[in-house]
Symmetry: none
Subunit: 142 residues, 4 copies
Amino acid sequence: NDITHQEAFEVLLAAKKHAEASNTLVNIAVVDAGAHLKAFLRMDDSFLGSIDVAIKKAKTARYFNMDTGELGALTQPGGIIYNIEHSNGGLITFPGGIPIKNKKGVIIGAVGISGGTIDQDRSIAIAGAVAILASTNERTKN
Amino acid sequence: NDITHQEAFEVLLAAKKHAEASNTLVNIAVVDAGAHLKAFLRMDDSFLGSIDVAIKKAKTARYFNMDTGELGALTQPGGIIYNIEHSNGGLITFPGGIPIKNKKGVIIGAVGISGGTIDQDRSIAIAGAVAILASTNERTKN
Amino acid sequence: NDITHQEAFEVLLAAKKHAEASNTLVNIAVVDAGAHLKAFLRMDDSFLGSIDVAIKKAKTARYFNMDTGELGALTQPGGIIYNIEHSNGGLITFPGGIPIKNKKGVIIGAVGISGGTIDQDRSIAIAGAVAILASTNERTKN
Amino acid sequence: NDITHQEAFEVLLAAKKHAEASNTLVNIAVVDAGAHLKAFLRMDDSFLGSIDVAIKKAKTARYFNMDTGELGALTQPGGIIYNIEHSNGGLITFPGGIPIKNKKGVIIGAVGISGGTIDQDRSIAIAGAVAILASTNERTKN
């Protein structure tokens, strides 16, 4: 149950298409089930600082199998996992990281988006994550 | 559209002059369009801990193309990008980092100042950044 | 003179096609003129340890504007730059990293390949780097 | 017995002048007696990878109070301090790092050069280091 490079490409291209449709310049990172980088694209003129943020969002979403924004609600001062961002070489816990599930609902990776507002980033990440559910790609079907 | 070493020197010297005029001891870092260190100076008796802070302020300002103080307003507890400082090997998000623009308004690098109060640091960074706009240096003109 | 994301994609796909033609499982990394990650793909079943090696090969090729294998000839025991690998957060100095030039011969980025033999990696990197020279992509032409 | 920022500037400018006279594009780093960065300049079009190499050469020269090339003779396989490059966050032990002494012969810092051949780098570093011996600068005299 691991994302294929073909699926990672589909996530990347779907996220890019969604970003372009809303004139948002983003960095797109896809990690596999092991939270390791599988595919990445930095759109021209997007923030230089968003390369690492996008990758960390994707990793964070897979590390804890949740929307990074949900995690961020728990990491605030007084929160139950306050400052967990210090672990794993740095986590990003605001919106823009989303787990990727296959058609059976199993998490097979995650996507991280950075460069737009947090609402835009999250929306683009979701567009990327759901792309493989609609895919008729042979490798996905079999 | 990248800062030249001649321009980086001008930024450095203008910042130093401004710092001396207000008896402020600072570290001055200039990065290029790729956020790589281009020029640096540590004034005598300035804080040792400010070397890295100045460099990180300059990098942060270029990573996100904004005044580091503006970024800091968004990274507070409850802020939309809370704890983004954990990315990119460590960001500094309080005032003192300013993008450097050329005469056409294109960002060509950034300057980071650390050692004084945040108001002093920001004021010195601005004095450095605007110096190249007034320059009659040949490489800048052509 | 910086590689576009469209060009980076072309490099990625040309390298992937060349790798598939020789049944080689590789990681493909493209960095821009500032040595920052622009595009990446990890082929299914390629080595997990090759993610970082591919990225470091691409960065090393741009850091010193040369084939990483040429650099490696100089870093051996007794070589003139022995152990330079300890700089820049870790360099990779065996073959597989190649600068990417535009049609005017200006270096605009670099590509790094890891997963096959060093000869295979180098051959795939070259196939990727030259792809944009043949491109009729509009952004490349103008 | 610490280098002043005025002296560090003199080292920087003397090294730059020497580099320009031989058409060599280098990165110039000056560290103080505590091995902390005091002044830095990256010449236009010099290697991106030389920023860190120049800084590490300067630090290495001060860490062990010797010409980095002399150190390198001892770090080879079978050498008495084999692979000491792994310490201190990464050392550079080939030529181009030189301690800076004041007129009394006391080491007050170090200079590191990277970008040319190792002979050029070493020659430029020496030109920088000796510059303050000839200086009639007031702070140096007193």
